[in-house]
Structures are given as C-alpha cells and as structure tokens.
Amino acid sequence: MPQVKLTVNGKDVSAEVEARTLLVELLREHLRLTGTHVGCDTTQCGCCTVHVDGKAVKSCTMLAVQAQGRAVTTIEGLAEPDGTLHPMQAAFREHHGLQCGFCTPGMVMMGIDIARRNPGCDEKTVREQLEGNICRCTGYQGIVQAILSIANPSAVRDHH
C-alpha cells in the first residue's frame, strides 16, 4: 500500500493508505482528527474544508496520496496550545455563527481563506465566496458577519 508523508497541524505524519483513500478519511479514520466533517461527500457542502499549503480545499475530493509532502491544517490546528481560540473561531462565537455546528469546521476554515484572499471586502463578496459551504440552520447571517468581522471589521452590521 502507498505510504504518504505530510504534516498535519504542524506535526509530521506518516501513514499507509490505499490509493483510493480520501484525504478526509486519512484525517478522520487514520489520524482520528474528527473535527473535519463529511456532509455530502460530493464536493458541494464544504463541511470537509481544510487547508492544504494554506489554501482551502474540500478534503472529500482529494486523495490522501495527493497530500504527499504537503502541509495540511484542520480545525484542530487553529487554536493556541493553551486553548485560546483562533480569531476566526472567536468571531464565530461572538457573532453566533453556528447553531447545530455540523458545518462549522468547514465554515471556519473557509472563512479564514476568504479573509486571507479578500482583505477589506464587502458583505456581498463574503456571501459569494461562501457558495461552496452549506449551512442548514443559521440562514448564514451570523456566519457572514463573523467572517466579515475579520476580513473587514468596519463593514460589520450587527454589533452587540
């Protein structure tokens, strides 16, 4: 079986996987990092979003062997070792960007990617950029405001 070596959340990882093993399966089933979720398994919902070399990708549509030599960051890798939340995680809490929480790991990972690529953007841009991440609870309002509060604090509407 193919051997894959990569870093996950800054740590060197090596695993024996089948060629067909998906990156999300490597993360969840081999490494037991179950913060990354599988919603649709068809590249649509975005629950499985992680960063590969700093860019948001859907880990249900990438083979584990394709992550050879790459740096993967999952939701587990965001907070500080002492538990201090990543600013995007803190923003989701502040703006009530979640209800049931199933889509949240993917939303946070995509939110960081959106803020990185679109500093100073407006709300419309955040909504457009979120089209690959589906939430069935929130109506998106809190999620959009949370991401906007990092990408462009002056554009946030629901101060509380």
């Binding site: 060629a19 979003t49 948001a56 990708v57 549509t61 062997v65 690529r117 690959g132």
Partner: protein, 264 residues
C-alpha cells in the same frame, strides 16, 4: 470507489509511460470531476496517473500577443493573475466563476478542457476567444477540439500541456449559473479579435459551439441593434427538467446582446 494503482508522474514522459503501461489508465489533473466520477463508480480505471507534480505544466505567461496558460494551472490562479486580468479580463471572470473557491484551488484548465463537460465554462471561453489547445503531440484549434458530449479531438495517450489564447481587442463573458451546481446553464463569450468577432457558447448544447449567425451580424456592425433581430435556433440544444432547449436558445440571444452592450 474501486481501488487503483496510483502514479505520481514526475514529467510528461513518465506520465505517458505510466498511462501506456496501464490496462485502463486515466490521467488526473485537479481531480474535481474524476474523483466524484470514481466515487459514483461511473469509472473504474486500473491506474490513475497524477499530473500535479509536473511543474512545466503550471503557470501563466504573456508571449507577444498571446497568453499561454499551463494545463495544470488552477482556476483560482487564472482568476487572480495580473497577466490575465490585464490582457483578457473576461477570461479571469470566467475562471473566477467556476464552481466554488475550494474547487477553484484544485480544478485546472487542462482538466476542464480535456473533460469537455457540456456545461463547463472553459470550452465556451476557448471557442469564443479562438484559443489553441497545445498537447504532447500537436496544437489543436478550439474550433476543432470540442467534438461532442465529453468528446474531444484528443487521441489515446495525448496529454494537454497548455492553452494559448490570442489577446482580443475586447471580450466579455456572460454566464447563467445553475443555482445548485454553479455550472453554466448557458455561458456566452463574445470577443472582438483581429480575425473578426467570435461568439462561443457553452452549456446550451452537447459541446461548446460558435454562434455563427450572431458573429456574421456583429462583424458587419458591432452593436446591440445589429443582433436584435437574430435568434439562436433551439434545434440540437439541450433540454432538461429545469430548462428547455427553447429557453436556452433565448438566453443565448439575451447574453450576446448583454455582452455587446457591456463591450460598447
């Protein structure tokens, strides 16, 4: 997904060798269509040859009056490219409207073109801009490349290495996104090139095509008025539960007029 033998090709030669040595080999670019296809077991290749490690297939450069985009360049890089944005902004718009941000980080121009999905954006862009597909064996004009539903002029073992776009005087891409999939229900690329006006259409038929009746009218008079009386025939266009062939034909006309208005 059935299992397969995975090959990470270091160069084109290694990719060709792995492919020809396989019982039923498949090339993988970004995998944005191939992996979902394998998951659904619509395909079960014995071998998958990954092209992502071949650096010579990546990158964007301006070569005289042509933009050359490596086959393994992802949509996000085309959309964000200063070179593309300044030379062919309509192409940057097209690339930035494919799928969603995560898909654009993985999906490639070469993969999209080789797959020739009838609703993909790039085929319409290539045809509309009069692009040339460069392969491991030859160069193929976009007009001769897209032959039908998921069917191209590529021969067995032929690998796309780049796409060359002549820089148009002006171009505009207009797309009706399917609200669920993001694919083009209809996409229209109108371009004023040194060889005349070109109108490339995707999403509407089995493969991308040129709307020649619009081209003829616009070549004589590039104005909205010139195409007001022109319509796209619904014959041979796609029809599904969402959109009839007649609807798609109507949208082609609307989008040509909107594109011309935007370019004025």
């Amino acid at each position: 997904m059935h299992n397969f033998e995975y090959h990470l090709a270091s160069d084109l030669e290694a990719a060709s060798k792995a492919l020809s040595g396989a019982e039923d080999g498949k090339l993988m670019a970004g995998g944005m269509t191939l992996l979902p296809t394998l998951k659904q077991r619509l395909a079960a290749p014995s071998d998958v040859v990954d092209l992502s490690a071949i650096d010579s297939l990546k990158g964007i450069k301006k070569d005289g009056d042509t933009i050359v985009i490596g086959a393994m360049t992802c949509h996000a890089d085309v959309a964000a490219s200063d070179v593309v944005q300044s030379a062919i902004p309509a192409l940057a718009v097209l690339a930035g409207g494919i799928g969603d941000p995560a898909v654009r980080h993985r999906g490639t121009i070469g993969g999209s073109v080789a797959n020739a999905d009838p609703a993909a954006d790039y085929p319409g862009g290539l045809v509309g801009l009069g692009a040339t597909v460069v392969t491991s064996k030859r160069e193929i004009a976009a007009d001769d490349f897209f032959l039908g539903l998921f069917e191209t002029a590529l021969e067995d073992g032929e690998i796309i290495t780049a796409v060359k776009f002549p820089i148009p005087k002006k171009a505009h891409y207009q797309k009706f996104r399917h609200t669920a999939s993001g694919y083009a229900v209809v996409g229209v690329m109108v371009a004023q090139t040194k060889d005349g006006v070109r109108v490339g259409v995707t999403g509407a038929a089995g493969s991308a095509f040129r709307a020649t009746n619009f081209e003829e009218a616009l070549s004589k008079d590039f104005s909205v008025k010139a195409v007001e009386g022109i319509s796209q025939s619904a014959e041979d266009l796609l029809s599904d539960i969402h959109f009839s062939a007649e609807y798609r034909a109507h949208i082609v006309g609307v989008f040509v007029r909107r594109a011309v208005a935007a370019m004025a």
